[in-house]
């Protein structure tokens, strides 16, 4: 259809409504795409809300269906019933469950997760102090995971079915299969005790952070390597790769500029899933290396039977994961033009 005719028809039919596709200009299409992306983003955010409420509710119920009184679980069985009653009252545990829940959520929304029973301090404050350590550990671990995982994945894909491929993929599966504490103990023994390159525990200097970061990153590196390899192998068979090669690009250019760019998309989403597993792994890594982060806080809370602290750390961590997944999902929308443009 000639351009001017299309413009006339557009003026005749267009009343701000959605036009048939053959009448749409690029601007219209962009506007519609903008709306659809916005709708998608809003929908995704709205879906997260019931999940968030569900998470808080689940933890809340779980910690209160303790056989007997939660305070008895916290303080032990041989405590004076009068003391238990007093503490229950102080913690508001004598009130109806629904009231406790609403009060807890209302306080949590204001950033108040209650008071730690053992440390007698605000849970939020304790978490805020511990959190930077976990973030530092996770970020360093992610860097380790990406460097090892990507390199191994790309090399394995290029040398597909060769010795190097099998070797790297075997190592990757081993990385996924090794218990985090095993990696931690082996590295501690070899690099801290035998070679004395790094301190055995602690998290106060960059040198001390190396081993925990490698331990936590090693596991994710395995997953990233496996995924990068399989995506890359699949993408290398596409027509556009053949075209890139045919137009005389160097192999490194083909892989980095064309193949890897496409192969990275699912890996980005996987990284979001890794937030959750990293935080799980952080619990073990932090307790082996004595890192004063969130994971160790949770373990301490269980050891000292500190319910408010346990509740706070688990809810805080889970909310963090939900937000992380949300961001990764939205990022995926932005990164992948096929999804972005609603194809």
């Amino acid at each position: 259809m000639p351009q001017n005719e299309s413009v006339i028809l557009r003026h005749v039919f267009c009343k701000g409504s959605i036009l048939p596709e053959y009448l749409q200009t690029t601007k219209d299409k962009e506007k519609e795409r903008g709306f659809s992306v916005l709708k998608k983003v809003l929908k995704r955010i709205l879906i997260s809300i019931p999940v968030l409420i569900g998470v808080v509710l689940a933890i809340f119920i779980m910690l209160r269906i303790v056989p007997g009184n939660p305070v008895t679980t916290m303080m032990g069985e041989h405590v004076n019933p009068a003391v238990i009653e007093k503490v229950s009252k102080e913690m508001g545990l004598d009130q109806p469950y629904y009231f406790q829940f609403i009060k807890y959520v209302a306080n949590a929304l204001r950033g108040d997760f209650g008071t730690s029973y053992r440390l007698n301090r605000n849970v939020t404050q304790i978490i805020v102090e511990a959190f930077p350590h976990t973030v530092k550990l996770s970020v360093l671990a992610a860097v380790v995971a990406w460097i090892i995982g990507l390199t191994a994945g790309v090399i394995a894909a290029i040398r597909q079915n060769k010795l190097l491929d099998r070797l790297f993929m075997g190592c990757a599966l081993m990385g996924v299969s090794m218990p985090v504490f095993m990696t931690a103990l082996v590295l501690q023994y070899v690099f801290a005790f035998k070679l004395k390159w790094f301190p055995v525990s602690g998290f106060d200097s960059l040198n001390a952070m190396v081993l925990p970061a490698i331990v936590l990153g090693w596991n994710s590196a395995g997953s990233i390597a496996r995924m990068t390899r399989s995506n890359l192998v699949e993408i290398m068979q596409n027509d556009f790769i053949r075209t890139a090669r045919a137009k005389g690009l160097r192999e490194s250019g083909v892989i980095i500029g064309h193949a890897l760019k496409n192969a990275m998309l699912p890996v980005v989403t996987m990284m979001a899933l890794q937030i959750s597993s990293m935080l799980s792994g952080a619990v073990l890594t932090e307790s082996v290396f004595g890192v004063p982060g969130i994971g160790r806080l949770a373990v301490n809370a269980i050891e000292t039977r500190d319910m408010p602290l346990l509740q706070g750390t688990v809810i805080f961590t889970t909310v963090l994961i939900i937000i992380g997944n949300l961001v990764a999902d939205l990022l995926y929308n932005v990164l992948d033009p096929r999804i972005r443009e609603g194809e």
Binding site: G54, L173, M178, Y189, S276, M278, L284
Partner: protein, 319 residues
């Protein structure tokens, strides 16, 4: 544990992707190349597995050997796993004690062999229970759709949002340590990934002609689900089952390592590692030996799962 959660999520996502879900693209694995051939019966599939993925077949043999050792532990173990002998405490590996002795003079190898009973039971039972729950809920969500789907899948979202180790720790806090409680904790936690995979598959299967035919002659919904849809989900479920077992084993080991799982004098591998940790710098075998045992079992199941996915999965078969 990291491995556990990662793998669980990863594998369920991989299967979901293969079944037409929204997860990332299928993952690669060593030794998977070449034609898959026409494999119809289970026997044919087993032969295909042996022919095309030697590592998976080898892993299957390793698993059978470990199961045999666990079942016949009193015959396989050189000593009683609970027998203490303080005179022989903390001995280095020798001909008499292949993997040395622990701080109470118990033979480490015997404890590892008995520990296999715990690990395999933890690997199998909670996985079966959680997968049964996940399968029923996933099928119901996919088949009924609408509100049922929304509620079940949001529940699954909630379960998947938790870092599994922390959630298991909370359950163990509530119920106390011990193996039975680990069973319950892991059964309650791990159903969500199965539900997602089964739902994705049910969604595509319910559009098939034979389901429509069954429906048109008035077959009841639950009968359609269990007679027509479930058998077609089986290959994916078997793969998922094989891959969920190592996750459960790692969970138990991690929980026991953190002191909220199995309790002494149980020969749980995780517990052995944490008790051996005190002697890491003087008697490293005390924690390395049970860790290696965990790794071998987990690795064997992962290799087998990868191989089975190769043979059983309809998506890959079409390639």
């Amino acid at each position: 544990m990291t491995g556990m959660k990662t793998d669980l999520n990863m594998h369920s996502q991989v299967l979901e992707a293969e079944l037409g879900g929204n997860g990332p693209e299928p993952e690669g694995f060593p030794g998977h190349e070449g034609e898959l051939g026409e494999a119809d019966t289970w026997m044919d599939k087993a032969k295909t597995l042996v022919r095309q993925n030697k590592l998976a077949a080898f892993s299957a043999v390793v698993i059978v050997l470990i199961i045999l050792a666990a079942v016949f532990a009193p015959l396989a173990a050189p000593y009683d796993h609970l027998e203490q002998s303080l005179a022989d405490r903390l001995q280095t590996p020798s001909m008499a004690h292949w993997l040395g002795t622990d701080e109470l003079g118990r033979d480490v190898l015997s404890r590892i062999i008995y520990g296999a009973r715990i690990s395999l039971t933890i690997g199998l039972v909670p996985t079966l229970i959680s997968m049964a729950i996940g399968t029923v809920l996933g099928m119901a969500a996919g088949f009924y759709g609408g509100k049922a789907d929304f509620i079940i899948m949001r529940l699954a979202d909630v379960m998947l949002a938790f870092p599994s180790l922390l959630l298991a720790m909370v359950v163990m806090y509530t119920m106390g340590g011990g193996l039975i409680n680990i069973f319950i904790a892991l059964s309650l936690i791990n159903w969500a990934s199965t539900a997602r995979v089964v739902r994705a598959q049910t969604l595509s299967l319910k559009e098939k002609e034979y389901v429509e035919a069954a429906r048109s002659i008035g077959v009841k919904k639950w009968t359609i689900m269990f007679r027509h849809i479930l058998p077609n989900c089986l290959p994916s479920l078997i793969v998922l089952f094989t891959l969920n077992i190592p996750s459960a084993i790692l969970s138990e080991a991690s929980l026991s390592f953190l002191g909220v799982g199995a309790q002494p004098p149980s020969a749980s591998w995780g517990l052995m590692v944490v008790r051996g940790k005190k002697y890491l710098f003087s008697e490293p075998w005390l924690c390395i030996a049970p860790s290696v045992a965990i790794m071998i079992v987990v690795l064997a199941f992962n290799f087998l799962g990868d191989g089975l996915r190769d043979v059983l999965d309809p998506y890959l078969k079409e390639q």
